[in-house]
Amino acid sequence: MIPLDELLGFSGVLFAIGIFGVLTRRNFILLLVSIEIIMNAAILNFIAFAAYSPSGSPSGQSIAVILIGLAATEIAVGLAIVLALNRIIGSVNVAQAMELKL
């Protein structure tokens, strides 16, 4: 079995990469991709802790299933916002979306 600290380190590095993407990219689709990387880092944490659960309960995996559904929902709404932004301001650059009135 993989050591827990290595898994958490992997997850932490992925989280940092996601934060880097959110801070540096301006394309809405790339922002969504960065947020997905952050969500996946969190899901990996849940699954890692479930594998090392002292009580032998798969609750961490249950929460991971729910989080996967939540992340898929989030990206669907995000892409609907991308389409609306593209239709209304003609760009998917968040720097040009000066107001939230879509």
Binding site: F20, R26, I75, N86
Partner: protein, 170 residues
């Protein structure tokens, strides 16, 4: 070093490289290709953690559905499909903050209490736990998905943009 640790080192290395590749790619289509591989590396990690069901779910939902959804969005925003984004402004504060976050995460990871690893869970165990102890969360997820569906249709409805444009024109 046992086989699991070696495989994990390979998979984690590939995961970090593909995540960075997704964010550093200049074309959006390339980003989506990188992120698809990234999702597959995470699915492999779940398999290594004996969470086979979640690995399959990761492959179906992320590597399959989410990737295709992202590609579809790029295709709809067609004129930018092969366009390059303006030069990425890698600001020093962003890089510094990224390294700080990574450092703190690694510090916490090495100081965590570790118990003995389990033998993995069967799908029956997982579903029993999911629909009894966490049943309320499943219902809440259903409600969130329903409202997201309605919200996405509302946002993407064609007449909405026209109405706003005619308001602005008036």
């Amino acid at each position: 070093m046992n086989v699991d640790a070696l495989l994990f080192a390979l998979v984690a290395g590939a995961g970090i490289v593909t995540a960075l590749g997704a964010l550093m790619a200049r074309e959006v289509v390339h980003t989506i290709m990188w992120i698809a591989v990234f999702f597959i590396t995470l699915a492999l990690t779940y398999f290594l953690l004996l969470a086979a069901f979640l690995g399959v779910l990761q492959l179906a939902v992320y590597a399959g559905a989410v990737t295709i959804l992202l590609l579809f969005a790029v295709m709809v925003v067609r004129k930018r499909i092969f366009s390059r984004e303006a030069a990425i402004g890698i600001g020093a504060p962003a890089v510094a903050l990224t390294f700080l976050v990574a450092y703190l995460m690694l510090e916490m990871a090495t100081s965590v209490y570790t118990s003995e690893p389990g033998q993995g869970y069967s799908v029956a165990d997982l579903s029993r736990n999911l629909f009894t102890l966490n049943g309320a969360w499943v219902l809440a997820l259903g409600l969130v998905m329903l409202s997201a569906l309605v919200g996405a249709i509302y946002l993407a409805h064609e007449s909405r943009g026209k109405a706003i444009r005619s308001e602005e024109g008036a």
